[in-house]
């Protein structure tokens, strides 16, 4: 890695004692000696193992659940169903007033995705829990499922999630988050070329080497200590408090040392049910996702679809950009309404475009609920935007890198969401990339700066 200190030297104070110094990491000695304590390194005598019985169907009504055989299985201590969960219908962003509550801790009457948690089995050993889980009988009536976002948005599509009542998240702005800037149709009318293209992505798993999980120990005083690898301690504690209808003062979370997250550990999934299990049995409980659960049950990055329509001039100026973004939330909201909205703020990318129209939708389908991942709301949008930029450049016969310079935002430029640009540095990144990659551009582009067009 090279630090190019020549850029922005005038606005940066170097020569500090600790900042900017490559100090060794204080946690690394623990890592290389195997001494770093992750949540699963806590082991308590008498700890129970929680295994989840999951829906084999994408969408189904639960006619009945029979746990009697499982309860009799040797080593089984307790079997939990929806009725055991004090506040079974929740949504994690309710803490920042983004509702409605739309997800069940344990399925109640219906499952909306393949892999949904239905019954929790607690046993003395993992093996006993697995054997008992295989004995839980759930009678399902399979319902029509919808996987495709455009299908889900059509009239008459099966309703995925009754708590919403329609297959999209209803923002205060309506069925999508909107950004309107300038007059996009006038921009298209003025453009030399119009290019409309569609991009899509598949769900992506975070795949941290440490799977999601927690170990809960009763403290003996009505408090419960939850050793967890959550990415957000109080966020998880406060949601657990709501779900369990238990004062937060009864909960003690210990964590902060996590074997990789990448956004995959911000859902509040394992902790509430494990704390409930510890409370109902009086025993320590561990609930750790298997690798298979981590891969196929934990929330992935959402599948997205992005449609971009651009109006571009022969001289390289983009004069109008219309973006329609669809985020596949799967069956439940989790963080997706937030992510779709973040996309609306991110488009039209780091470019100054006078006429912009953005709609971003958060759509419900019977796919695995998606949630945050590294680059949430932006990564797939950047893929779409930057492939589109390449196509536009080629459409007008211009070098793709030079085309970027023409449109790059600079300090003072008004963004589509009506914030003036501050602290831009896109141009300098591209100038340095031009040098590093030996991809020459016209001298005039090497002479400009993010400090603004006036300079």
């Amino acid at each position: 890695m090279e630090l190019r200190k020549s850029y922005f030297a005038d606005v940066r104070k170097d020569g500090l004692n600790e900042i900017g110094q490559p100090r060794p990491r204080l946690d690394s000695p623990g890592h290389v000696t195997g001494k770093t304590a992750y949540f699963a390194d806590r082991n308590f005598p008498g700890m129970l193992h929680l295994k989840m019985v999951r829906s084999p169907h994408h969408h189904a009504r639960i006619r009945s659940i029979d746990t009697s055989e499982a309860e009799k299985h040797p080593g089984v201590v307790r079997v939990l169903t929806a009725k055991d969960v004090p506040h079974n219908v929740y949504t994690i962003l309710i803490l920042i007033q983004i509702g409605p509550e739309d997800e069940t801790v344990l399925a109640d009457g219906k499952v909306r995705w393949k892999g949904e948690a239905v019954v929790a089995v607690l046993a003395e050993t993992e093996r006993a829990a697995q054997e008992a889980a295989a004995k839980v009988k759930v009678d399902y009536e399979v319902l029509p499922a919808v996987f495709d976002m455009e299908e889900a948005l059509k009239p008459g599509a099966p309703i995925v999630n009754e708590y919403h009542g329609q297959n999209y998240y209803l923002y205060d702005s309506g069925e999508c988050r909107k950004v309107r800037f300038g007059d996009v149709e006038a921009g298209f009318a003025q453009a030399d070329h119009i290019l409309e293209q569609s991009y899509q992505s598949s769900p992506i798993e975070h795949a941290p080497t440490e799977t999601t999980g927690c170990v809960v120990a009763p403290e003996g005083n009505d408090r419960f200590t939850c050793y967890t690898n959550t990415q957000a301690m109080f966020f998880t504690l406060d949601n657990a408090s709501i779900i369990l209808q238990m004062p937060g003062s009864k909960l003690h979370f210990v964590g902060g040392t996590v074997g990789g997250g990448f956004g995959g550990k911000v859902d509040v999934i394992v902790e509430p049910i494990a704390i409930l299990a510890a409370k109902l049995t009086g025993r320590p409980v561990c609930f750790i996702y298997s690798r298979e659960e981590e891969m196929q049950v934990s929330s992935p990055r959402a599948a997205e679809k992005v449609v971009i329509k651009d109006g571009v001039m022969k001289d390289g100026r983009i004069v109008a950009r219309k973006v329609t973004g669809y985020t596949d939330a799967g069956a439940y909201s989790r963080h997706s309404p937030y992510g779709a909205q973040k996309g609306a703020a991110h488009y039209p990318g780091p470019y100054t475009i006078p006429n912009v129209w953005i709609d971003t939708y958060c759509v419900y389908t019977n796919r695995t609920p998606s949630s945050a991942m590294r680059g949430f709301g932006v990564t797939i949008g950047d893929f779409a935007l930057e492939v589109q930029m390449d196509k536009l450049a080629r459409l007008i016969g211009m070098d793709p890198l030079e085309f970027h310079f023409i449109n790059a935002y600079r300090d003072g430029d008004m963004k589509a969401h009506r914030q003036p640009t501050e602290g831009a540095a896109l141009i300098e990144c591209m100038q340095e990339a031009s040098r590093a990659a030996n991809w020459p551009v016209a001298e005039k582009y090497m002479a400009i700066s993010s400090y603004g067009k006036g300079e």
């Binding site: 190019r4 204080l26 902060g256 909205q341 932006v378 492939v387 969401h417 990144c429």
Partner: protein, 334 residues
Amino acid sequence: MAIRRGRGVAAINYPTGMNLGGDPTQALVHSTPTGNFMVTLSSVDLGQGMKQIMAQICAETIGVPTDRVVVDTADTDTGPHCMGTFASRGTHRAGNAVIQAAREARQVMLEVAAEELEVNASDLETDGQGNILVKGAPQKSMSIFDVALSAHFKRGRSISGRGMFLIPRSYPEKETGAMKPSTCYAHACTVAEVEVDDETGEVTVLTVKNVFEIGRALNPKMVEQQLVGGSWMGISHALYETTEPYYPNRDHGGTDFNQYLMPGLGDLAETEIIVLERPSADGPFGAKGPGEMCANPQIPAIANAVFDAVGVRIDALPITPERILRALKAQAAG
């Protein structure tokens, strides 16, 4: 058979912190009797090095070496609230909270030293090595060790501070979408060079040259760790990763590390990282959040490079050999 070469470019920006703000983080800092400093948080270290960076930020602010700072996180019985580690917010939000707490503790520390040295606190400075000096008269000094002892046992002062950082929440205007999503943005530009086997659709990423602008590299080696790892993940997202390889058929999702595909040690691209620093107005020492954006620009850069190599556009991720081969066959069929 032909191995065909292409290159592509992409440029991006990325907001630091939770979209639209409203995401607080607090920190507490206190000194021990011998002038070591404890930072208490509930922030989560996912492996990116949050603990180390908070130690360096506290040390710089107080004026002691980093090894005199201990970071205690994350225990909800002791650590004050942090919204969490996500949205490239950890360094920015918690860092600001630590600075504020450390400044308050530093002020008490200087006041105690001022009493001991019989000068005004405003006339004191730290040397970064653990000593407090009188400005312009460095021979008149006192170690932080002694200042802490004095505070604890003689003066009855708590060298401690409280920090809170909150960017007020922005609410998007319904019709126009006017809003303030973030206060600062990191930037990047990546040029990727690939080879594509036009008989099998296999892509080899030869080089990725990444330029990242991240505000301030608080610890350059740790920045490098994250940027190199992120660049690898970007390549992985571009070419390999999916939980539903044959959607709309939802079968055949990988359930292990053999079948959920990511580049192996034998697939690594030659990776160049160049870092620029334009300090942000509200970042701790100017830092922005590099953690997420470093994995973004490789994806479109590779997509564009594949097009440059073989003339087919793959507009769906991941860009698998199968998708390329199908496109090449369609192209050949006219």
